[in-house]
C-alpha cells in the first residue's frame, strides 16, 4: 500500500515537472492602450484563438500567450487605431506559432480579427466586427447596431443575438447558424455549408441566404412579417406558413420554389439554393 502511494506521489511529481517545463515555453505578454470613442482595433494571428470582450473605460487591453519563441507579437498604436500582429519566425508551425489572445476593447470599438485556425469570439460590442479565418470556428454574440462581416473557408459560424446589424457572412463549407439575428441587411453566401436561421426576421430588413449544395433551414414564429421567396434548382423546398401569393421574377414551380407574404411583409426574405434543400419552418 505504502509502496503504491509512494509510486503515485513520484508519478505526480514527474507530471508536475513536465507541465511546468511545458509551460515554461509559454510567454505571457500584456499590452495596454488608451483610446478615444469609436476606436479601431485589429488583431492578426496566424494560429490560435482570439477572444474579444468589452472593457470598462476607453482602454484596449491585450493579453497574449505565446507558445514558443518562434513567434513574436508586434503591436502599434496610431491615434485611435491599435494593431496587434503575430509574426511567425522561420520554422514556426501551427503549434509553435500559436498565440492565444484575450482582448478587451471599448464596447463602441470596431474590431477586426484574423486567425487561420481560430477560434474567433466576440461579444457584447456595438461597433463593427470583421472576422476572418480559414478553419476558425467563429462565434459572435450580443452585438448591436454594427456591421458583422465574417469570412471562413471551412470554419463554422455562429451568430447569436445580433440586433440592428448589417450582417454579411461568406463561407465555402462552414455551417452557418444565425440565432435571433435581425437588421436592415443580413446576407449569407455559402457553398456547401448548411445555413440555419432561427429568429423573427425583424421589421424592415432584407435577408438573403444563398447556398450551392448546402441545405437552408429558416425557422420563424407565426407572427413573423415577411415577404418570402424560396427556390432550389435541384433540391426540394418546404414551407410551413400559409402564404399570400406575391409576384416573382421567375416561374414558381411547386416543390422547387415558393413565394408569398406573411403578415404585413415588413422584411424581405430570400432563400436560394442550387441543389440544397430549403425549409421554412414555423416555430
Amino acid at each position: 500500500m505504502q509502496q503504491s502511494i509512494r509510486h503515485a506521489a513520484r508519478l505526480s511529481t514527474v507530471l508536475i515537472l513536465a507541465v511546468a517545463a511545458f509551460a515554461a515555453n509559454e510567454v505571457r505578454k500584456d499590452y495596454h492602450f488608451k483610446v478615444g470613442h469609436r476606436s479601431s482595433v485589429s488583431v492578426i494571428n496566424q494560429y490560435g484563438p482570439i477572444s474579444v470582450k468589452p472593457a470598462t473605460g476607453h482602454h484596449v487591453v491585450v493579453t497574449a500567450i505565446l507558445h514558443s519563441d518562434k513567434v513574436e507579437v508586434y503591436e502599434s498604436q496610431s491615434g485611435n487605431r491599435v494593431s496587434v500582429l503575430s509574426h511567425l519566425l522561420p520554422g514556426a508551425d501551427a503549434e509553435s506559432g500559436r498565440v492565444d489572445y484575450e482582448v478587451q476593447v471599448p464596447a463602441d470599438a470596431s474590431v477586426t480579427l484574423h486567425s487561420t485556425t481560430g477560434p474567433l469570439h466576440a461579444e457584447r460590442l456595438h461597433g463593427d466586427v470583421i472576422l476572418e479565418g480559414n478553419t476558425a470556428n467563429v462565434d459572435v454574440r450580443d452585438v448591436n447596431a454594427g456591421h458583422v462581416h465574417v469570412k471562413t473557408l471551412d470554419g463554422p459560424v455562429t451568430l447569436t443575438n445580433i440586433t440592428d446589424g448589417h450582417v454579411e457572412i461568406t463561407s465555402v463549407s462552414g455551417d452557418v447558424a444565425l440565432k435571433s439575428v435581425t437588421g436592415p441587411f443580413v446576407q449569407v453566401n455559402s457553398s456547401s455549408g448548411r445555413i440555419q436561421y432561427d429568429g423573427d426576421f425583424g421589421s424592415g430588413g432584407q435577408y438573403e441566404l444563398t447556398s450551392h449544395t448546402g441545405d437552408i433551414e429558416a425557422t420563424a414564429p407565426a407572427y413573423a412579417s415577411i415577404d418570402v421567396t424560396a427556390r432550389s434548382e435541384q433540391g426540394k423546398v418546404e414551407n410551413d406558413f400559409p402564404l399570400n401569393p406575391s409576384h416573382t421574377s421567375f416561374v414558381v414551380r411547386a416543390g422547387s420554389a415558393f413565394a408569398g407574404t406573411v403578415g404585413k411583409a415588413a422584411s424581405s426574405v430570400k432563400l436560394f439554393s442550387f441543389s440544397g434543400k430549403i425549409h421554412l419552418r414555423k416555430r
Binding site: 492578426i44 496566424q46 500582429l85 509574426h87 511567425l88 519566425l89 522561420p90 520554422g91 514556426a92 508551425d93 501551427a94 506559432g97 484574423h114 487561420t116 476572418e132 480559414n134 478553419t135 469570412k151 473557408l153 471551412d154 461568406t170 465555402v172 463549407s173 453566401n189 457553398s191 456547401s192 444563398t210 450551392h212 449544395t213 427556390r231 434548382e233 421574377s249 421567375f250 436560394f272 442550387f274 441543389s275
Partner: protein, 214 residues
C-alpha cells in the same frame, strides 16, 4: 497519286515516304504544307515530353471541360473521342489532337505559374460567350488553382488539402452557376448564384495570399 490517296496512306508511312509520295509532295503544295505542319507538331510534342508535365488534375479538367462543351458525349476517358470518328479523319486527328491538347495544357499551365496577380477577381462571365472561350477560361482557372496550391504547399503544407477541397467546391459552384446563367440569361437568381460563386473564389484567393506565413 492524288491528294486523297496520299493522305490515306500517310499515317502508315509516317517518317518515310515512297518515291511516289515524294513526287506528289513536290507537286502538291497543300499536302506538302500538311506534312510540314505535322512534322512541326510532332517535333514540339517531343520537346514537351521533356518539359514539366502538368499534374493529372489538369488533364482530367481538360476532359471535364470538353465534356461540358459537348465535345465528349459519353462518360468515357478523353481518348474515346478518337475511335468515334471515321478512320481517315482519326488518322489525322490523333497526333494533331494529342499535340494540341498537350501544347495547350502545358502552355496555359506554364503561363499560369508566371502570373503575379493571383488575387484578381475573374472577369464577369457573359452568357453569350463561346464554347472556346469558356474552355480557355476553364483551363486558365485550373492553372491558377494549381499555382495557388503550389504556393500553399510551400508556405503552409497543412492547409493545402483544405484549400484544394475548397477550390474544388467553388469551381463546381461556378460551373453550375455559369450553366444556369447561360440557360437563363434573364434570371436574377441565376445571376446571383454566379456572383456569389465568384465572390467565394475571390475570398479563397484573398485568404491564401493575405497570410504572412513564414
Amino acid at each position: 497519286m492524288t491528294c486523297e490517296e496520299f493522305q490515306r496512306v500517310l499515317p502508315e508511312n509516317w517518317g518515310g515516304h515512297t518515291v511516289e509520295q515524294k513526287e506528289h509532295l513536290k507537286s502538291c503544295s497543300a499536302c506538302s504544307e500538311l506534312v510540314s505542319d505535322l512534322n512541326a507538331i510532332s517535333d514540339q510534342a517531343g520537346l514537351l515530353q521533356a518539359s514539366e508535365e502538368p499534374c493529372p488534375r489538369v488533364w482530367s479538367s481538360i476532359e471535364i471541360a470538353l465534356r461540358q462543351e459537348g465535345l465528349i458525349h459519353e462518360p468515357q476517358p478523353l481518348r474515346s473521342l478518337v475511335p468515334a470518328l471515321p478512320r481517315w479523319r482519326a488518322a489525322w486527328l490523333m497526333p494533331l489532337a494529342a499535340a494540341f491538347l498537350m501544347a495547350f495544357g502545358v502552355l496555359v499551365f506554364e503561363r499560369g505559374t508566371g502570373r503575379p496577380q493571383l488575387a484578381q477577381q475573374p472577369p464577369a462571365p457573359s452568357p453569350a460567350m463561346t464554347a472556346g472561350v469558356r474552355l480557355d477560361r476553364g483551363l486558365s482557372v485550373l492553372a491558377e488553382d494549381e499555382q495557388l496550391l503550389k504556393l500553399m504547399a510551400a508556405r503552409a503544407p497543412a492547409l493545402k488539402a483544405a484549400y484544394e477541397s475548397d477550390l474544388r467546391a467553388v469551381d463546381s459552384y461556378i460551373r453550375d452557376a455559369e450553366l444556369s446563367a447561360r440557360d437563363n440569361p434573364n434570371d436574377e437568381v441565376a445571376q446571383r448564384y454566379l456572383m456569389n460563386a465568384y465572390e467565394q473564389r475571390a475570398m479563397v484567393y484573398q485568404m491564401a495570399l493575405d497570410r504572412s506565413l513564414p
